[in-house]
Symmetry: C2
Subunit: 330 residues, 2 copies
Amino acid sequence: MITQREIARRARTSLKTVSRVINRDPLVNAETRARIEAIIGELGYTPSQAARMMRSQKSNVIGFISDRVATTSSSIELIRGAQDAAWKAGKQMMLFNVERNSETERHAEEQLAAFRAEAVIYATPYHQSVDRTATRIPCVLLNCFDAVGGYHAIVPDDYRLAYELTSIILDRSYRRPVFLNLPEDIVAAPLRARGFVEAGAARGLDLSGAVHTAVVRDSAGAPVFIADHILPGLMAAAARPDLILCGQDMLAMNVYFALADLGLKVGQDVGVASFDNLHPIAKMLQPGLSTMALPYYEMGAAAMFAAIELDTHPPGIVRVSGRFVERASF
Amino acid sequence: MITQREIARRARTSLKTVSRVINRDPLVNAETRARIEAIIGELGYTPSQAARMMRSQKSNVIGFISDRVATTSSSIELIRGAQDAAWKAGKQMMLFNVERNSETERHAEEQLAAFRAEAVIYATPYHQSVDRTATRIPCVLLNCFDAVGGYHAIVPDDYRLAYELTSIILDRSYRRPVFLNLPEDIVAAPLRARGFVEAGAARGLDLSGAVHTAVVRDSAGAPVFIADHILPGLMAAAARPDLILCGQDMLAMNVYFALADLGLKVGQDVGVASFDNLHPIAKMLQPGLSTMALPYYEMGAAAMFAAIELDTHPPGIVRVSGRFVERASF
DNA sequence: CTGAAAGCGCTTACAG
DNA sequence: CTGAAAGCGCTTACAG
């Protein structure tokens, strides 16, 4: 393995001067610099990160612990955003996909401690509360928050997401929307219900009776979509809903099939709106699903920047808003 | 920061003995060991990975360069499989999501060189040919292969996947299947077409006229599904197809909508089969899509094991078979 | 079973 | 503008 000492020998100069060239110290004679750079290029030399870390007492490593994030395509964007931000900042991101409170999580924390990571981003696949107590490494929470507080956290502003989406819906003259919501123990569910109802109230509409839970759990805790059970009754009413707002795009897909079974055409007989912009479902549905996208990429990037500048900012929760993606479902 | 020297001082022993305890060297007095372990636990000490790498001249790092793999949910499994295998082998996997031949790829290679990675896995989001020449680090190709050869490569056995799926279809008495295939420049397409036709021939059926390309590209190169253009003609024929085999699950979704437009019920009027088992689409379609799953998790794990034992095995292409996931679409 | 010495490949701190 | 010395925190190689 080539070292700076070897390069110095070949360039007939000292180890230290080679180090200066590599670290872009301007105080090097131009000719000497050129000679050294030529040799480095020729030999394909790259300085040892391990030696640098050790001597400089700086790892430049930021950890990213993802609680099963890497299994849904939208939350992958959290990782991409963080990775790109790390690159721009000259940091090395180390990713660990774990299951919460399992051995995998302990392993990740240990590896990050061994690498002397400067900070850690802890991400969850959907907005939820977590309980982080026993970590040695400073932490930024992403898509989750700690009930006790005291952490930096970046989460979607679910209330606002629902308020804005409902406003768009009502501005298009829909007057009898129903909201097929996620289970109430999901953090987003009550926040969105409130946004939905308050956006209605702001336009003189009472939507408080128009919120239904359309996702339940099976015995294993896996989500089961029951739009096909709920919609027949709802759509048979005298004042039939003119739009179905869905708690997530997967539920919207379930709604598409349920409406087809009822002989109703999405976008014509009844509007459908949703949250997520889940790739590739939102686009592949026919008609394409108009939905509120969460800016996962930007959230990941924001978390990385927060992690890098952790000590210079006071902790707090940042709520990010979304972007309406218009297709053809309402 | 705590060091082994500090622990040795507190335990009234030498640095070397502490090192022995940490590295599970059995030649340590039990009492001394207990004393040292107690102090380590108390202080929450973790040995510096940087120092270990440097002194032992062994990084224990395996790189994973993914060419946009981290954007489709099925190929995420490649990453999970590799990560878990690395963990089991006591290796540290370093992941880089890149775009091929871009600056991001060069950055990844440089970082991995700086960390003195022992090997690299290069993964693509679907089976394809790549051109890898200028790398210093030994490499395993995952879901791709090098036309020139000389690399370890792990790829799906597309011919066999199609042969087996077609055999299942024909064994269920379908007699007029059509294959809506991917574009011909996709590596999998001709292999699967051959598997389809040969499985038919093995049962005395000539399927050579039953293969159609149902995915084209727009001006930007993005895939466009055209089942809705192809199916009306096909389904109007006197000898109407009794099953549509789709080149991928997203195309199958397109087919579901096209068949609905024609007033045909999937699973009753006509069967649908596919390749991928794409999460969550295959499961969310109604009826659920019966499809040939690619074992991405296992492929990722196999690539990691190959990367770890790179020099002890001769290079070659490993073709992996799939697993039929039965739902209700045929 | 234990330990003193050397050294991995760099950067730091200092002296010219 | 340049360089000699020290040392980051470990493991290796060796000697008891």
